[in-house]
């Protein structure tokens, strides 16, 4: 649930509040790519998808535009979208969940219908779609992250307290035969969005990389330019593939400031700013989409491997993207604080209440209502 509570506007409609996005080669089928969108963090048993929201997966083939310190991606203008929409529920299932139906419009213009919570989902010509309530695969200790930021010292305990232990999300998982459904590749950029449906859909939120808005952009106190600016709603309203110049510098300055804070926590500088005054990760992180190489075999821990390889001037070896079970908070604190030049940082949480599986629909079944309280 890395993106939960990512902006005041998203707060007003939990079914439009994206928590996480994942993209990985299917562990059970090398010809398939899997995309997962999680929403509605800490969802109670009655949570359902909104009938007024389009849940959109945007996929663009991309190339590596530059390697080394100037590393950058070059996304194509060609785009493939999957749009999922939902009906108003009618009645209750045996498990007392509201019965809801949905459909997914594929890039080829075909519509796949499915029933929410049905683990088989809907299937059509190389695409399988699941939507329903599942266990939140993300795990972190929010209190210790906040304390770390407040004190400027790593505050994680050997055994932390998982803020999301036993909680559920609404999830949509799409498994697609990428060579058949998409053109180009094998490198793809993935962004998920929620949009208010209508003649001209309006973007409510967008998420690509994990923990950009919360861990990386939200802290205001280190930003010497826009200390009062709640930046996340502005950021949400931007097109991930076409960030307008109006606020770009605000995002850049905020990210530089916050990344510098993290880098300084251990008392040494692992990420000296470049000649333009930017943190070396800023440009890559503001390219806020998951980058996955669909031709590579599934890997458990491959998030950001493509980007790190680019910075080091070498060819990547993994699919990159993001797998459901990856210990992201350990990874990101290690990346930001010591750049991998020192022992990994452990936040004291090493797994969720239930691991995701390697078969469709991948995410673990929802936890019983009492699990979180226990």
């Amino acid at each position: 649930m890395s993106d939960h509570f990512s902006g005041p506007r998203a707060l007003s409609d939990p079914a439009a509040d994206i928590t996480d996005v994942y993209a990985f080669p299917a562990p059970d089928s090398p010809n398939h790519l899997v995309l997962v969108l999680d929403l509605f963090g800490k969802a109670g048993p009655s949570a359902v998808f909104s009938d007024a929201v389009i849940y959109r997966f945007r996929i663009r083939p991309l190339e590596i535009g530059a390697m080394g310190p100037e590393a950058a991606f070059a996304p194509s203008q060609t785009e493939f979208t999957f749009d999922c929409t939902f009906d108003v529920p009618s009645g209750r299932s045996d498990s007392r969940r509201p019965i809801q139906h949905g459909r997914c419009l594929t890039p080829g213009g075909r519509t796949i219908s499915f029933r929410v919570d049905d683990e088989n989902g809907g299937v059509d010509e190389g695409v399988q779609v699941f939507a329903g309530q599942r266990s939140d695969p993300f795990f972190l200790d929010v209190r210790m992250i906040e304390r770390t930021v407040a004190t400027g010292k790593l505050s994680f305990k050997p055994k932390g307290s998982d803020t999301l232990y036993g909680t559920n999300v609404l999830a949509i998982a799409i498994k697609l035969e990428w060579r058949k459904i998409l053109k180009g590749g094998p490198l793809f950029a993935i962004v998920c969005e929620t949009l208010a449906a209508g003649k001209q859909p309006v973007r409510i939120e967008r998420v690509g990389r994990p923990e950009i808005k919360n861990v990386t952009l939200s802290w205001k106190q280190f930003d010497q330019i826009n200390r009062d600016l709640e930046i996340r709603d502005l950021y949400n309203s931007e097109d991930a593939f076409d960030v307008k110049p109006d606020y770009f510098d605000a995002y850049r300055v905020r990210m530089n400031a916050n990344l510098a804070f993290y880098d300084g926590i251990d008392g040494k500088i692992d990420w000296p700013f470049d000649r333009y005054g930017n943190h070396p990760l800023t440009k890559l992180l503001l390219a806020d989409f998951l980058v996955v190489d669909a031709s590579k075999r599934f890997a458990e821990t491959s998030y950001f491997e493509i980007e790190r390889s680019m910075l080091a001037g070498r060819t990547h070896a993994t699919p990159g993207g993001r797998w459901l079970n990856e210990d992201f908070m350990d990874f990101v604190f290690t990346l930001y604080v010591n750049g991998g030049n020192a022992p990994p940082i452990n936040d004291g949480i090493d797994g969720p209440i239930a691991w995701s599986s390697k078969t469709f629909p991948y995410l673990a079944p929802p936890n019983p209502a009492k699990a979180a309280a226990a």
């Binding site: 509570f5 005041p8 506007r9 707060l11 007003s12 409609d13 939990p14 079914a15 439009a16 509605f40 963090g41 800490k42 969802a43 109670g44 048993p45 009655s46 949570a47 359902v48 998808f49 909104s50 009938d51 007024a52 929201v53 108003v88 529920p89 509201p98 929010v142 209190r143 906040e146 307290s161 803020t163 909680t167 559920n168 208010a196 449906a197 209508g198 309006v202 409510i204 009062d228 709603d233 209502a369 979180a372 309280a373």
Partner: protein, 364 residues
Amino acid sequence: MTGLSKISAPAVWPAASPPTLTDGTIALLNLQAQIDGLEGHSTTGEATALIDLLILRGLILGRISDYERAAQLADRLVEHADTDAAVYVARARTRAVFHRFTEALDDLDQADRISPQDIAAKRERAAILQALGHYDEALVTYGTVADRAEQFEQAAALAGFWAERGETETAQRSYLESLRSYRGVSPFPLVLLDFQLGLMWMRQERLNEARTCFATAIARVPAYAAAQGHLAEAEADLAEPEVAVARLIPLATSSDDPDYAAQLARILGEMGRNDQASGWCRLAANRYDELIAAHPGAFADHAAEFWLGTGKDPRKGLRLAEFNLRVRKTPRAYDLLAQALEANTAGAASAHCSGAHLPSRAEI
């Protein structure tokens, strides 16, 4: 009225197209899911969110028990996180719900000391000043956050402000601006606005306009109890008492707010169905007494209206109207007191005998 020209709506607005909103049934399921998911909350932010959600559900479903729960949570939260401005703002909200305005303002003072630029605290203060009838101060306070507030929130606050003042044209303009600037899909912020506008028309005795507003709110969220209740009131006044009774019976049966039973008793009495009316009247009377004992400031005005009318105890109504005026000196509070004095034969002498110091309406 100072500062008004800078923040009120311009003269001409394009018509707002109907916004795309989540179905009201889904919104309510998800409100329940949010509350369930935050039970056993682990952070202060989640606790304040839970308080806000309970207040929202209380507003929509007319559940006083939700307000009471929110107030208990807020008290506990302040004990455990007394250096966080947000917890004082959250408690101020719960206190304002129960019309404990002085204590609510104390909380906001504390929030200001911790975080002087807190927009939520300033907006809450403006709403309380408005509730207290300090309209000029409220308007100035709304103005202080105008630059930093979301456009919708600011327009919505002003729509509510002008609706309460009875400035129908300005309220409508702000209402349209709210609709135009709304970027969310949750129906709740809009139904609260529809309701405010409906109340404005009721006070102006423009019943058809009121009915339209309440019906709009109900179309968006069918379970919105207060809108159902006021729609029934408008229907009864528009000579459709049977429709009103059918609308009120489920509300009066399920809600812990006695307003619906009181309303039902009044309409049934006017229809000559006195046997039925007396049962609902007893139910309302007992519940008002319980609520006045627990939350006197919050229910003094509605209880006074009840005792002056269907409850047929004008002396009790007068005591409550006097108390209500001490809580907040709004035009409505003065009107209620005037009504109470008229209902009691001693008139102004009653006010004098009560020992209350009642400033004249001209002083506000």
